[in-house]
Every structure is written in structure tokens, then in C-alpha cells.
Symmetry: C2
Subunit: 243 residues, 2 copies
């Protein structure tokens, strides 16, 4: 792990780091020492590890839970170079979608391919940041919507340190198989008028989680509309209950 820069604002310490060639951002309480819960935030498609939506949630989790928060650039996103194979696959997919093919199946296959890389990357980042004295080996939570759900479900299924997950805007077609291996508490968000994930696919993914403690929250709005702020309040309380 290599530290690239540190800064502080409003009681939150912000570290930019790399683990191997994977760039990540870590937020912790200003004067933290000792082990604490660690929440991984998975950013959305086309976003990056310090996008405003990530930063907004990271600050809340640090301030309200005293947690550490880490966010990782997905391949081809943020400070990472263009990923030739993924880029070629995405371009080919777009051509097939333009020619009338069902985008869901193509996006599903694409996310599965990316997850084969991100699951071990994210686990390596967890290993690295948990060696820090002010992060430590506390319980881990996961928060991710859309791409952050598509990559998050395989991660949560694979990683036993994760004790609770807020997921959403994902589809059963993409993730039902991995979801069936998840037994930790899940809070699952649906945008009721999602134009990219058909409603029945959202509900199918919620159905697929094996977690006995799971709850679905649906709100009006499209795929990219801002989530209601009360859902962030709810996520804070969800992690407070389970981490």
C-alpha cells in the first residue's frame, strides 16, 4: 500500500492511496485510533472513488458512525487507465444494443467479467487498509448502487468480513446467483421508475438474497435520479444496527 496524499476537513481525514496499481480513497475520523467498522462504497458506472455522491455518503458514515470508509476506482474509471479488453467489450455491447439486442443480458455478462477482476482487487484493498492502526480489523459493511451493486453482490458473496450490505438499482438477471450466497443483513433500494432495470428484475434480485434479515426500500424516480436523503439516514442506522 502506498499513500499518495492526505488532507483533512470538518473532522474527516482523507487519504488517497494505491494497493498495487489500484487507486483508492480512505476517510477516517480526524483523530481516530484503534479498530472501527469499515464501510466499502462502490461507485456507480462512469463515476469514480471520490465522486460527489461517494464523498457525501463517506462523510456521513465517518461522522455518524465513527467508521472508516474506503472507495475504489473500478477498472477504466477515475485514476485508472482505459482497460482495453473492457473497453472493447463495452463498445461491442453498445453496437449490439444499438442494433436492437436486449441490453440487460449484455450488461450482465459485462459486469460478471469485470467482477472477476474487482472482487480480488477489493479484497486486497481491505487487507491493506485494515493493517492501518486507525482502521484495524473491525466489521465491514458495503454500500453500492447500480454498477456498485453489480460488482458489490459478487464481492459481498465472496468476502466473509462483510457483515451487512446496502445494495440497489441492480437486477436479478445479473446477480441472483451470487445473491443466493449472501446471508448477511441486506437493505435493498429500488427506484420505482427505473428505466434501465425493469421493476420485476429489481424485485427478483431482492427475492434472491438468502438473508433472513433483508428489507426493500422503493422510492419514486428514475435510475439516475438522486436518492432521497432519508435513505442515507436509513443506511446510517442500518450499519449502526449491524456493524
Amino acid at each position: 500500500m502506498r499513500s499518495l496524499s492526505t488532507s483533512s476537513a470538518d473532522g474527516v481525514r482523507h487519504l488517497i492511496l494505491t494497493v498495487g496499481d489500484v487507486p483508492a480513497a480512505l476517510w477516517t475520523p480526524q483523530s481516530a485510533s484503534g479498530a472501527r467498522p469499515l464501510i466499502v462504497i462502490g461507485h456507480g458506472g462512469g463515476q469514480h472513488k471520490t465522486a460527489p455522491a461517494v464523498l457525501h455518503r463517506a462523510r456521513r458514515f465517518v461522522a455518524d458512525l465513527g467508521a472508516a470508509v474506503v472507495s475504489i476506482d473500478a477498472p477504466g474509471h477515475g485514476d485508472r487507465p482505459v482497460h482495453a479488453a473492457f473497453d472493447a467489450a463495452a463498445t461491442a455491447n453498445q453496437a449490439r444494443i444499438d442494433a436492437g439486442e436486449d441490453p440487460i443480458a449484455l450488461i450482465t455478462a459485462f459486469q460478471a467479467m469485470v467482477a472477476e477482476q474487482t472482487v480480488p482487487e477489493w479484497r486486497a484493498v481491505l487487507d491493506a487498509v485494515q493493517t492501518l492502526d486507525h482502521v484495524g480489523a473491525g466489521p465491514v459493511g458495503y454500500w453500492g448502487m447500480s454498477l456498485g451493486c453489480g460488482l458489490g453482490v459478487p464481492f459481498v458473496a465472496a468476502e466473509p468480513r462483510v457483515r451487512a450490505a446496502v445494495l440497489g438499482l441492480g437486477s436479478g438477471l445479473a446477480n441472483a446467483g451470487d445473491a443466493a450466497r449472501i446471508t448477511v443483513p441486506v437493505e435493498f433500494l429500488v427506484q420505482w421508475h427505473d428505466e434501465r432495470v425493469p421493476r420485476e428484475q429489481s424485485l427478483a434480485l431482492f427475492d434472491a438474497f438468502a438473508s433472513p434479515d433483508k428489507t426493500l426500500h422503493a422510492n419514486p424516480g428514475g435510475h439516475s435520479d438522486r436518492l432521497p436523503e432519508h435513505e442515507l439516514d436509513s443506511a446510517v442506522r442500518f450499519f449502526a444496527r449491524h456493524l
Copy 2:
């Protein structure tokens, strides 16, 4: 309005009263004075105004929100006499259900008939308790599941004093018409394995609310299973935001 009895426990004052021949229970903070939010709790089928599930929620709303809470015996429930017409209709319905008819349409028609009586009764109880110095003309909320939703939706649609409602375990077939007249914030609960309200009917009722601010919470479990305690926490915060 006639007071029948008062008692106190754990900082909550409990008044049993009648408005005309309608029995109701009112809970307020022990030493309350002045206007405050008033939350109407509609009990479930076969229950009554002081059933344990009602009492549990009433105490939380009083303690956490400083609210007044009122609960009203539905016709034929609690301290009310058997209602001959409703009783005959219910008996006839049961015979038709036993003979293989779809229960949803029958229950829907039955609840619509009962609501014609309960909407004016509940409005009269609101009028009466809001004359009390320690209740006053504050904002009104509504909480009701199952029968409390079936009767609650027409009440919330009719009563402009209601500013926010937690509803659930109800069906679009029963209540979509009235729901389309509701524009106040709604938190809507679904039991994901409800054996009495088909899932698509639950979702249809959520769809039907005209409220721009509405949120659906679904949790595993059947129609009569206990709601997760975090949903009561959520209801407290929902009313805190909107009342």
C-alpha cells in the same frame, strides 16, 4: 366526548373515552399542555383500540415524538356491540369464500361498506380530542396496516388534517381509487410473503398513491407476522420529518 377512565404509566397518560357511541383510547405525554401532533392508529381486523400492537406503537409515538395518539374501535370490534349488518355480510362472505369465490373482491366490498361508517366516526373523534387543551389543533398523522389500511386509505383521502401516513398490508383492488386522492407523504409497508394480499396488489396500491413523496418498505414474512422493530423506528422518524 365523555371520559370513561384515566390512568398513567411510564410517563404516558391513557384516557378511555367515547364520542357519541364510539369508544376510543387517547395517549398523551404525562404532563403535556398545548397543541402537539396527533397520530391516529387504526387497529387490524379482529383487534381493538388497546391491542398490544397498538399500545406498543402508541407508547413509542408519545415517548419519542411528544405526540398524542388516538385509537378507535372499528364497528363490531373491541367495546362495540356486534354490528348486525356487517356481521351478516361477513358471514355471507365467508360462505362464498368457502364455496370458492375470490376473497379479495368480497373483502374489498366489505371494507368499502365499513369505511362509509368509519370515516365520519374517525373525523368526529379527531374533532373531539383536538378540543382538549393538551392535544390541540396540531398536524395529524395516520398509522394503519391491513384493516387499518383498508379503512385508513379512505380516511386519509377524506381528511385534510392528515399530513402524513404509514400504511401497509393493503391492496390496490381495495383502495386504489381513494389512494389516487392522497398527496401527503406515505410510507407503505409490504410483507413480502403475504398470503392474503397478493404481492402485485400491494405494489399496485403503492403505485396508486398520488403522493410525490412516497416510499415502500418490504420485509420477509406473512400477513400476520410481527413487523420488524426497525419499521417502528422508521415510522417514528417519518412522522418526525412530516408532522
